[in-house]
């Protein structure tokens, strides 16, 4: 990992444009701003073409023979399959409204990170080979030849987009750079050009069921650790069961929550809640991933990984599916899963066994978001909460890009937060809800080697957190996304020290009053609760 620059150095940029036209400004691979190349063995696992070991710093990227034909054919194929792609190639007027909406542009000042220009990287090639004006007028029509340098530029910048869709909110025609990035990445994958950080998790998820590569016995032992902690904190021993046939509900979480801090605290929150409810549920070691790094690769790969969820629900004979806190997982569940792998006619319309609420908003997918489920419980007074257990926390909430702009799940987590803690402060309006600023690490960018890029992309969000830290003393950034939980701690330590990162169900786990529990003296992180129990004497 490259040494991290100082804050002052990182902020030495302005929103200026180079003297040379962008087509004449070659891409520069700055260390710390890009990921390692995909390893051959990981591409082989999923039968991807041109599998080989390769590094972006190599002069020769070992492209397959006739790579140009492959890309142009691939482009024509996708233009005929996706109206979004064809339309977004044609109708941009370059008004520039999207330019300063991208967190990577805001944090780097690199004009090729303006969504409009990132799109032009692809559009210029589209024009050259697919439009009459581009064929005749060439550069004057904004067209350029497809060369190896163009491919390198695509790779650099399409893996510098988190598919967060913020630009699409502001575009007068709804042009969504995420769509264009997805197409760009599909084309690159035809040449075996992925990143290690995406292709590794994809291979893991395909074979082992989850991105982080947890084998079944490891999932069980990871959960055992959490159960030990829960026992220490609450005095209660929980015994969840896995791969259990005949359960009412299949619970699918992002694997990050089974793997490492701080995601495991969120997972503890889920487990405690289910225990308190006496929920008839099971988790699967096979479908042990709600997230989908295939989605950052190609449509087909995303579908292949996603297929496990319905397949496992069918095998286990559950009635419906409950999903954990994860961002892009929910874009996929909301906008893709049923289309890819449905119809889930072997499942029933989800009904909360506790409140009787029928989740008609999930009538077809049969999959409910855990904050929808929990908000409904709280609304019907079905769980007892002691928000004062979170009094040492001053909380703000980060909307995940995908749940905000690819679903519209905004009030449910806020409602839960309002009931489980007493100190909640919103960040400025321009930075939350549909206008939320990305963590800068989504869409498979949360690697270590590109930390400078992540810090830059996360700077606008961190800047908003700093605002509420100074104004309200905020010390917790709550969220409903596993990538947020994995990515934000490093970003907060760098930009806004003193702010912890917590899933909403960690906060809930703290506040949840369980039957027969001992008096709580510590939170789920085993930090003493100020003013409670033993801590009182200090």
């Amino acid at each position: 990992m490259a040494k991290l620059p100082k804050k002052e150095e990182l902020l030495q940029y302005e929103y200026k444009v180079p003297a040379t036209d962008w087509m004449d400004t070659p891409v520069e691979f700055k260390p710390g701003t890009y990921c390692y190349g995909a390893k051959g063995k990981n591409l082989e696992v999923v039968d991807f073409p041109n599998a080989r070991d390769w590094s972006p710093t190599d002069e020769d990227w070992k492209l397959p023979e006739d790579w140009k034909g492959t890309v142009l054919e691939g482009m024509a194929d996708r233009l005929s399959k996706y109206r979004s792609f064809r339309l977004f190639m044609d109708i941009c007027v370059r008004c520039g409204a999207c330019a300063d909406k991208c967190h990577f542009y805001l944090g780097s000042g690199d004009p090729k990170n303006m969504p409009v220009l990132r799109a032009e990287l692809l559009r210029s090639v589209y024009r050259r080979y697919n439009t009459t004006s581009g064929k005749l007028l060439g550069r004057l029509a904004g067209a350029r030849d497809l060369t190896e340098d163009v491919i390198k530029e695509w790779w650099y910048y399409f893996y510098q987009c988190t598919e967060c869709r913020r630009c699409s909110v502001y575009c007068p025609y709804g042009i969504d750079q995420a769509e264009i990035t997805m197409m760009g990445r599909e084309l690159l994958n035809l040449l075996g050009l992925n990143t290690d950080w995406i292709s590794g998790p994809v291979a893991n998820c395909y074979m082992k069921g989850n991105h982080v590569g947890l084998e079944p016995q490891t999932i069980i032992s990871n959960i055992e650790f959490m159960l030990d902690d829960i026992e220490t904190i609450t005095g209660k021993r929980i015994e969840p069961r896995f791969n259990r046939k005949g359960a009412e509900i299949l619970f699918v979480a992002p694997s990050g929550d089974l793997f490492a801090e701080p995601g495991i605290y969120t997972c503890m929150g889920y487990l405690m809640l289910f225990e308190q409810l006496g929920l008839d549920y099971t988790m699967s070691t096979y479908a042990s991933e709600g997230g989908n790094f295939g989605f950052f690769t190609s449509n087909e790969m995303a579908k292949r990984l996603n297929a496990k969820i319905y397949a496992e629900a069918k095998r286990l004979g559950v009635k419906w599916i409950l999903g954990g806190e994860c961002g892009h997982m929910w874009r996929v569940v909301n906008q893709y899963m049923d289309t890819w792998n449905g119809p889930a006619d072997f499942l029933e319309v989800p009904v909360s066994p506790i409140t009787g609420t029928k989740f008609t908003s999930a009538a077809s997918t049969k999959m409910v978001h855990i904050t929808e489920f929990t908000a409904d419980l709280i609304y019907h007074n079905k769980i007892k909460l002691d928000p004062s257990r979170n009094d040492h926390l001053r909380v703000t909430f980060h909307d995940s890009c995908n749940t905000a702009r690819g679903m519209g799940l905004m009030e449910e987590p806020r409602y839960i937060i309002s009931k489980v803690c007493n100190n909640f402060y919103e960040m400025p309006e321009e930075t939350i809800r549909e206008k939320t600023l990305c963590c800068g690490s989504g869409a498979g960018l949360n690697a270590g080697e590109n930390m400078e890029l992540r810090l830059r992309g996360g700077f606008p969000r961190a800047n908003a957190v700093k605002y509420v830290q100074e104004k309200h003393g905020v010390n917790v950034l709550a969220n409903i996304c596993a990538i947020d939980r994995a990515a934000f701690p490093a970003l907060m330590d760098y930009w806004v020290p003193g702010v912890q990162v917590m899933g909403v169900h960690e906060l809930l786990g703290n506040a949840l009053v369980m039957d027969g529990e001992i008096e709580r003296t510590m939170d789920l992180r085993m930090q003493p609760l100020p003013g409670k129990g033993a801590a009182k004497d200090v």
């Binding site: 929103y15 409204a97 289309t339």
Partner: protein, 328 residues
Amino acid sequence: MKIWSPLLAVLALVIIAWLGVGVLHWTTLFGIVIPYAAFAVLVAGIIYRVVKWAKSPVPFRIPTTCGQQKSLPWIKHDKVENPSSTWGVVGRMALEILLFRSLFRNTQTEKREDRLGFGSAKWLWFGSLLFHWSMLIIVLRHLRYFLYPVPALVQGLEKLDGFLQIGVPVLYLTDVFVVVGLTYLFLRRVVIPQVKYISLAADYFPLFLLLGIATSGILMRYGFKVDIASVKDFAMSLAALNPQVIEIGTIFYIHLFLVSSLAAYFPWSKLMHAGGIFMTPTRNLANNSRVVRHINPWNYEVKTHTYAEYEDEYRDKMRKVGLPLEKE
């Protein structure tokens, strides 16, 4: 180059019309053949483009949600910014098309040392709205040349447009607004460095062409003062498909030739955003894909790693931790 070549192209169009009609008197060509051909290209071109877009399916339901989803009954659903029904979509699209809703959200970000500040930025929204609405009213006003009797709506629009009653002939506000709007859109393209950086010749050409059309139109009305009755006779003859060439003045034919150029250019250019906005899948779909299954016409079977394969690979490890197995 990006600015000069389109400017020269528009000037060339003016000169061609001036030479063609003013010097060579090819009025049949410039008054009848070219306008008809251009109109045919406009109509056929728009149909061609829209059909081409429509031929590509919408495999996934991908609205960009800009408000609260419809979920639990006690949570207030944002019916327009995150529509769940057709009527919500109609509302969202109407706001988008008529009032440029998304542009209204625009903000400007400033960096001051280690801080970012988000400020309101409504000028682009205002300038675009000013131009587009003025343009629409001007086009509707022009219907008076093609219809007899002149519809009450057109007469009303004219009255409203000229309500200030300045000068003779009465000054139309939209004439001023359209020029102001276009000038603003041009100036921001050259003044804001980022916008200049992304601009192509294809972004300047329509601005110059439209400015040329507006200028020639205004000159005709307030400067050269062509005979309106002759213009109407000519336009009616065109509309009746019984074209009669009438001597009106070169400025009129310059105006007509620029309009014809715009019509012929329109379908092949970025101006097709006017059609595209209706078809954009991030705006014109309801966010209801969890309620109703969206069908992808080219959905196909894919290779997956099945549970049976998984169990085969991990059976021993699974048995050791007591996980239930399909095959012991």
